[in-house]
Amino acid sequence: MIELLPFLLWPFLGLLCIAGIHVYLGLHVVEREVIFVDLSLAQLAVLGAAVASLWGLDPHDPPTYLAALGFTVVGAVVFSITRSERGRVPQEAIIGIVYAVASAATILILNNAPHGAEHIRDVLVGQLLAVEARDVRRLALLYLVLGALHFWWRKKLLLISRDPDAARAQGVNVKRWDFLFYLTFGLTVTASVEFGGVLVVFSYLIVPSVVAALLAERIGARLAIGWIVATLASVLGMLASVWLSAPPGASVVCVFGALLLLTALARPLVART
């Protein structure tokens, strides 16, 4: 156990960073009922990286990152526009379509891409055990900046997530704030998916927030519960990975599932007392 610590230290700290910002963003995502928006934006970033590979850029060149970012911005624009057109088409449909088309377009591009594009697919898989100190530092810095922006704008951002009609009535430009939300969200998710993979990031985003929604109403309480759940899942997931000698990413995701199940079973008992 002790001799494994050096291998698990940085992946674990990275997961805690992810927990920090994703639990908070997950509250927004669940409020907005856009559960799969992270997959959609991450896939757009991959499409951007694939397009960059057509120009002969290496997956790790800075221009590739800019291309990925550019596509994420386009996604942010699309999602902020389509949210207001409510009634006829649910936004979850748009998100699903963007995901499917971006995935398919990536396949088409990689189909004809020059040699080296094989690795672009790896962006969505993540390699928790390969994480090192500098990765965690980069991740923490990015999350701190984005988290500070969200803290600064928290009143407006929470209002437009929970009650866009009320926000509109107050004269808030909902589209502009929606765009800001999706832009910061896209930046976060793109960075974290490369780190932990799609499954892990999705779990950190949604499960803590759902558990919290089962147990509490106020946003502060939900945030606290979410962070506790995410930290617990990180610790137990890593331990399970060591005990069972199993891949860490999959272990963490399954622990999340178990925690949600326990909460759902325990809730009637808690409510009765």
């Binding site: 094989e118 055990l129 090192e132 060591v242 999959a250």
Partner: protein, 332 residues
């Protein structure tokens, strides 16, 4: 709201009709063109070059050596792709439909995609058992044929390790299997294929001692090596090094922290000289292990066509040994 939904229904119905018409036209066109080809083929078969389709570019390179100007050769998998996983494209079926000879690595390497393509191509001349089907492994000594097979060990190959082309000695067995296949579908040219195959085997027999000497010179022979997957067994046997562990012991399942820890300890203490991985896997974890242990990582092409300079079967081994030499020299 009501008139709106009726409008929708009408638009949808029109769209459906248009799609159905399009599909009908496309199908009709395919049937007409394919029957036309059937009619032309027998008359041309004697004069035109034989169409050989291989699963990998290594087999294609050897098929060119044997067939010379009597064949045109196409490979389905590119040299930089993982031959275990190939996305089926319609163009592959068209290629296979027209093929006179199909050559596969066999031993279940292509089991995930080749059977589907072969069935879809509906070309009875190249189906398993027909004259135009070649299993290139038939005349090669196969390693690691398991006594019992279980999914618990990950993605193992029940018919033995299929990466046999990575030992240059096995090039001769591959060449003979292709020679026999070509002779079956074009008996008139059998003598030519025999002659070209003998020539290839002779050049191979000359190259092998040269490659072995080079491996000894650069210090890989006798070394202890860690590889990413269990896919370098033949390569290890060819150049006399020992594979002591794997980064991903169960192919396709990410390693556990325990395994990475054990591996790192073993590499630090166990005089491991080199870490080898294929060029189509995610290099992040091997790179980290290499940094942590100080053991040099070398990313090797596994196939002809993986890089611009690798055109022939001989080029492949020259490139691999050069890459290893650079990695070992850089580490000193």
């Amino acid at each position: 709201m009501k008139s709106n939904s009726r409008e929708w229904a009408r638009t949808a119905a029109t769209l459906l009709r248009a799609v159905a018409l399009g599909i009908a036209l496309a199908l009709g066109g395919t049937v007409v063109t394919s029957t036309k080809q059937e009619l032309i083929r027998p008359a041309q078969a004697e004069t035109r070059a034989l169409r050989v389709v291989t699963t990998t570019e290594d087999l294609a390179a050897i098929a060119r050596e044997i067939g010379g100007s009597r064949v045109t050769v196409e490979s389905i998998c590119r040299g930089y792709q993982d031959p275990h996983f190939v996305d089926a494209k319609p163009s592959f079926m068209v290629t296979l439909k027209r093929a006179d000879l199909f050559v596969e690595v066999g031993r279940d390497l292509e089991v995930g995609w080749a059977p589907g393509l072969l069935n879809g191509a509906r070309n009875p001349r190249i189906l398993p058992g027909a004259a135009g089907f070649v299993d290139a492994s038939a005349q090669v000594e196969i390693l690691e044929i398991p006594a019992s097979v279980s999914r618990a060990h990950g993605d193992v190959h029940p018919f033995g390790n299929p990466h046999y082309w990575l030992d240059p000695v096995n090039g001769a067995g591959i060449a003979r299997a292709i020679r026999d296949g070509l002779a079956r579908v074009a008996p008139a040219d059998a003598a030519l294929f025999r002659e070209r195959c003998a020539d290839f085997e002779k050049r191979l027999a000359e190259a092998v001692p040269r490659l072995e000497a080079r491996a000894r010179e650069i210090g890989i022979t006798g070394a202890r090596v860690v590889t990413y997957h269990r896919s370098w067994s033949y390569f290890a046997r060819a150049f006399g090094f020992e594979v002591v562990n794997f980064v991903e012991p169960r192919p396709g399942i990410p390693p556990s922290p325990n395994h990475v820890a054990d591996l790192t300890t073993q590499m630090k203490q166990g005089r491991v000289k080199l870490l080898i991985m294929e060029d189509f896997f995610d290099p992040r974890l091997p790179q980290k292990i290499a940094r942590d242990t100080g053991v040099p990582l070398v990313i090797l092409p596994t196939s002809v066509g993986a890089e611009d300079g690798i055109r022939s079967y001989f080029d492949l081994f020259d490139h691999q040994l050069t890459r290893i030499a650079q990695a070992l020299k850089g580490a000193k």
